[in-house]
């Protein structure tokens, strides 16, 4: 099963006014490893024509990218007020 299909079964309450994770594109541009693209289990970090693309909307709030990025690009915060991932089973 593709990761997109797996993510498609999940429920989110997306916070359009607040991205709980942000990146610094200038750091990602010179990043030697892009480990985030392999570590993130929700495929939020992808390389498109060599450029890092990040989307917070699919984030499952696992906390991985915050420590995966060893170059200081990722700023991780909790989602606000019941937004973000909503698991039925957990």
């Amino acid at each position: 099963m593709k990761i997109e299909d797996r993510l498609s079964v999940l429920n989110y309450k997306t916070d359009k006014s607040y991205a709980h994770i942000t990146i610094k594109p200038d750091i990602c541009e010179t990043c030697p490893d892009h480990f985030c693209t392999f570590a993130c289990p929700a495929n939020c970090y992808t390389l498109i024509e060599g450029k890092l693309n990040f989307k917070y909307e699919d984030c499952v709030e696992c906390g991985t990218c915050d420590l995966a990025c060893a170059h200081g690009s990722v700023t991780w915060t909790n989602t606000k007020g019941a937004h973000g991932i909503k698991y039925k089973f957990g």
């Binding site: 990761i3 797996r6 991932i85 698991y87 957990g90």
Partner: protein, 430 residues
């Protein structure tokens, strides 16, 4: 005068247990949880060992949303082609039910309701942004500029303790402190699960796997637990190995587990209903923060209370027990109204006297065993060649068992002194 006696951040097993104990002792307690409903952001492999829970909720098994009690516990090594398992079933496990498979979105919601029934104020859907401090003492929490005050705060934020980290009470996490867990839940009819796993109604199967076949040397463990009408299955991968590898997606690892020839048939026909992931505390005593200070205590996963030696995984039980002990410390401190560091340090003493800290000390350095190439690569390969020698009839003379074992060890370069030392260290630490 504070608005609350105590504020508990996080309504998982640690936070809810602390709130239940505090409210049962007539303390005015606020339990703040960022998800709504509670538990809807929480992920767990899934076996709850509930001895501690019975001290705050007697007969919890009767009303808690548990899935199945564990009556068959397995540990298995998987190679590309083989499965070598130790399968333990016992009438004693059936008689004394201590482990139950659970789904956290259900369990945590129930625990939060129990906290409410005990008299705690429970607020869902509110994310605590930071701790409120006065003169170097924690005196409440802040969210959106609003301050709610309390005599002390108990932090039970789970494996990714943002408030504690941002407040400087917990160091930033690193590769050695955590692993990544990725999980899927497959729906299957209750009867199919009973038949497929040879279970009576209500009884469950729990298994931990060493995945000795993963590509490019990535080290990961697998798990599979039966719920009432679903199966929780997943992997836990070492962050440092994933980083060293840097060419395998974490979501592909779970796929290579669920599609293994001895796992896929167990899930066959199942409808994948949920995909989830979370970091898992793995660092043991070496990753622990200071557990108390002026006006605060830290419990559960936030405090690093989780443990795995590859055979047994525990965490929710430590969360419950440490939450209760933090509450007990608060209750004792409230006699003299002293919530200073000096007063709350008895939390550490309580933990040391309990099995929580004793286990952490006993299994210090266990991560060196659970994440060693010896366990992940050599042992599965050696066991596979031993079993093939034992059970594959090829019309050739057989050797005695010892000879076969020595052959299997030598094939996998395990006869050197270093390997013998590794095996010795492993046995001692487990």
């Amino acid at each position: 005068m504070s608005e609350f006696d105590a504020i508990v951040i996080g309504a998982g097993p640690a936070g809810a247990s602390a709130a239940i104990r505090l409210a049962s002792s007539k303390k005015n307690v606020l339990l703040v949880e960022k998800s709504d409903p509670p538990g809807s952001k929480n992920v767990s492999g899934g076996v709850l060992w509930g001895n501690g829970l019975s001290t705050i909720i007697p007969d919890w098994e009767k009303s808690a949303p548990v899935e199945r009690f564990v009556d068959t516990k397995s540990v298995a090594f998987l190679t590309q082609d083989s499965k070598i398992a130790i399968d333990f079933s016992s009438r004693k496990l059936q008689q004394k039910k201590t482990g139950y498979t659970v789904l956290r979105a259900k369990l945590d919601q129930w625990l939060a309701r129990k906290a409410k029934e005990a008299g705690a104020m429970v607020i869902n859907g509110v994310t605590v942004e930071k701790l409120h401090m006065e003169n170097g003492k924690v005196t409440g929490v802040e969210q959106g500029g609003d301050v709610i005050t309390s005599d002390a705060v108990i932090l039970c934020e789970g494996a990714n303790p943002r408030v504690a980290i941002d407040s400087g009470l917990h160091k930033r996490l690193s590769d050695n402190d955590v692993a990544l867990g990725v999980k899927e839940v497959f729906h299957l009819p209750e009867n199919t699960i009973n038949e497929r796993f040879h279970l009576k109604s209500g009884a469950g199967f729990a298994c931990e796997y060493v995945l000795g076949y993963l590509q490019n040397g990535v080290e990961a463990g697998g798990f599979l637990y039966t719920n009432k009408d679903s199966i929780s299955v997943g992997i836990v991968v070492s962050m440092s190995h994933l980083r060293e590898n840097n060419s395998t997606h974490s979501y592909d690892l779970i796929e290579s587990f669920t599609s293994h020839p001895y796992i896929a048939p167990l899930l066959e026909g199942g409808d994948m209903q949920e995909y989830s992931a979370h970091i898992v505390q793995e660092g043991g005593i070496g990753s622990m923060p200071k557990l108390y200070g002026n006006g605060y205590m830290i419990a559960g996963d936030s405090a690093g209370f989780s443990f795995s030696n590859g055979l047994v995984l525990q965490g929710m039980n430590y969360a419950i027990d440490s939450g209760i002990l933090a509450a007990d410390t608060f209750i004792a401190a409230s006699d003299g109204k002293d919530y200073s560091e000096n007063s709350l340090k008895s939390y550490q003493d309580r933990l040391e006297a309990s099995y929580v800290m004793k286990d952490m000390r006993t299994f210090k350095g266990i991560e060196n065993v659970t994440w060693s190439p010896f366990v992940h690569k050599k042992i599965p390969a050696m066991l596979e060649s031993l079993m093939l020698n034992l059970f594959m009839e090829e019309g050739k003379p057989k050797r005695h068992m010892t000879g076969m074992l020595l052959d299997a060890m030598s094939e996998n370069d395990m006869l050197k002194t270093s390997s013998i030392m590794e095996a010795y260290r492993m046995m001692r630490r487990m």
